[in-house]
Assembly symmetry: C2
Homo-oligomer: 137 residues x 2
């Protein structure tokens, strides 16, 4: 006898397909407490609901925006945290935004150096290379 399934219940593979999340990643998120443990069928299969879809979408979107898991935990009020206030969310976002801007600045500096040194290259089949000289000095 199959377990009862409501309209919006699904197994792990379907959740993965629906969200575009890797199927193993879903298990990982459960393991680290980002996704609530879903109920199981009598055979041990995970049964997900619409709430899981929403939560997983949130996590994925936050990850796309570069938030670390710890940040997302904070945004979701997970662990022993209470649901965050707007002020807390803003503070976290501003911190992250500052990080992102720092990373952009770092990468731009790198880009400039790479572009400048690569421009010096002859591209010839010779062992001497101005890029190697630039890095090595």
């Amino acid at each position: 006898m199959p377990d009862h399934e409501t309209e919006s219940s699904m197994k792990r593979g379907e959740l993965a397909r629906l969200t575009g999340c890797n199927i193993e990643t879903i298990r990982y998120y459960e393991k680290i407490g980002m996704l609530p443990d879903p109920p199981r069928t009598s055979a041990g299969y995970r049964v997900y609901s619409r709430d899981h879809v929403t939560r997983l979408h949130f996590i994925m979107r936050a990850r796309e925006l570069g938030f670390a898991m710890e940040d997302i935990r904070g945004l979701l009020g997970l662990g022993d945290r209470a649901a965050p206030t707007c002020a807390e969310v803003k503070a976290r976002t501003d911190r992250h935004l500052a990080d992102v801007r720092t990373k952009i600045a770092d990468l731009k500096r790198i880009e400039a150096v790479l572009a400048a040194t690569a421009a010096k290259c002859s591209g010839a089949e010779v062992p001497e290379c101005p890029v190697l000289d630039a890095i090595g000095s």
Copy 2:
């Protein structure tokens, strides 16, 4: 009797101080074949020379420029590779430069989204937050 030491020979700690590299990282680079195995004293202490300093500086600089270890191996002609030609170095650098530019573009998109959503925040001590809405939708 202490082992003979030439002027420019040094132990691991001094190499670390001299280059600013973490002392454990030096051992790691040796383990993965980025630094040649140094000779040892009779007690097993590693003895580094000026060549090691040069090589380590090169690696550190390349890492600062965001090259992956595999790239650096290529730049150095390590493993079973021959020393690269200028053309090969240029190709590798151009590929990496393209990567860096992609990352910058990604981060800029993230920055725009974060800045736009954070701007909507009231910063009040209330649980409703436009940032959460933006991520969640």
